[in-house]
């Protein structure tokens, strides 16, 4: 089911099927050493993966309130002290400057650069936010036998759209909720709602099921991020709040600088999915 990682060009060929069974710390070590420049889907299965947003301290309190007010797209996992790249609670010993396979640098709300590490970019006034991600529930979806394209197809990407649902604003941050769409077989829609509602820290239950136009998506074939995944005749488009909301809001508010993970290339934490925080 899982072939060699596409684009792997090191002396050691790592397989995604091997990475699935590694500890989160071992996964991060491979990423830090440059041996895994690929997406993190299914890596260290059963561990929470997190979206990364890095901001200047002067915007950090605004953004933290923004996350708290918009827990469906941006469920807060951990926020570092200014200048500290180690998320001490969910991954002690990790380094957020090197342990993500790919990063995006936004300047004035526009994507300026995609880089492999951010040691040169990191400053003492940087604050890192980790927020929940649906990749965390890959193991749950596999156990429940929910067929999702990205779980079986190495090249597949999610379909993401800007909805017409507004976020609750906070300080300089405001904008629309970005949603990710997964085509779900009609007979599994209730099941997938039941399952995902148990994981609020991974976006929880869908925010919409069915008609895309009802949430401002006129053309399901035209994505804002990712790739369009076709919805078959026996399937229903199901929409979850998505962490890409942070990037959409950065663009809307033209924030001078924001560093994020690159789409699909998340930070793998030590925390087991559904573990209590402490």
């Amino acid at each position: 089911m899982t072939g060699p990682a596409s684009g792997a060009a090191t002396d050691e060929v790592l397989m995604r099927s091997d990475m699935e069974r590694l500890s989160a710390a071992d996964v991060r070590a491979h990423i830090r050493a440059g041996r895994w420049p690929h997406t993190t889907k299914r890596l260290a299965l059963g561990r929470e993966q997190a979206n990364l947003v890095i901001l200047e301290e002067r915007y950090a309190f605004d953004f933290m309130r923004f996350c708290l007010r918009n827990p469906k797209p941006l469920p807060l996992i951990e926020v570092t002290d200014p200048g500290d790249p180690e998320p001490k609670q969910v991954a002690p010993g990790a380094d957020l400057r090197t342990d993500v396979p790919a990063y995006c640098l936004y300047r004035d709300g526009r994507l300026a650069e995609e880089v492999r590490d951010i040691r040169e970019l990191w400053r003492p006034d940087h604050v890192a936010f980790l927020t929940g991600c649906n990749l965390s529930v890959d193991q749950v979806m596999l156990d429940a036998e929910i067929p999702l394209p990205h779980l079986v197809d190495e090249g597949a990407k999610a379909s993401q759209y800007i909805s017409n649902i507004p976020c609750e604003p906070a300080g300089i941050f405001s904008g629309p909720v970005v949603v990710s769409m997964r085509p779900i077989p009609k007979n599994l829609v209730v099941k997938v709602i039941e399952i995902t509602s148990r994981y609020p820290q991974c976006h929880g239950a869908p925010i919409h099921v069915g008609d895309p136009a009802a949430i401002g998506i006129d053309d399901i074939g035209r994505v804002d991020w990712g790739t369009a995944n076709p919805v078959g005749p026996d399937q229903v488009p199901v929409f979850w709040a998505c962490g890409v909301t942070a990037q959409a809001v950065a663009q809307a508010s033209k924030i001078p600088e924001m560093i994020t993970h690159a789409s699909g290339h998340l930070f793998v934490t030590d925390r087991a999915v559904l573990d209590p925080v402490k």
Copy 2:
């Protein structure tokens, strides 16, 4: 079971049994008008009640990280914008300067004054934090027939102790976890753990059951806040993380100014217990 509120001295005698059935907005209106200077236990049953902490904006980001890192004592419900006394998400139209029955003003970590409203104290650089409270689960405890002194005895107070469990520090904030103890009949200990673990936003499951010395409490008869509730021969002392942790930490860090609710006099939100946030 509930007599007239002690100390009621207005033209209208409000009974706690009436206040139990009012909406949260009506409860707040009575409090705002000065007609309910008493504790909020059992008011607007089934609605989340919240601890209140007001700080200067310069400490707000530190304190918000402190809450996120210590979700058992300080589960975040809402944080207002600087200068805005309205908690727009959980109680639109409310005013945090008037809608709490009694407030405490701490200066340099010491209790300076207890007041009925804070209109004169409120400033544009103030930020208000609402965090979860065990009074929110009073209805749940009643439904489950868990006998708790404060639910049946008008004058009863919880027993609160400074434990030897350290909080995760953030910025200038550090200190011990404060715990509240309830004596629970031996045959109901598992039941009360099962029930409270379902309400993480109200401190969740206990953090300790049994021997007080194991968490640094040498004398169960000597409380740090509240009153000592005796533990009978068929009872076990059960300890939950407590929102008073905020005051203990204010004292430990000698913060220049902190305004809080007075013990037992909480802010009643519109949010139904266990309602999803949005």
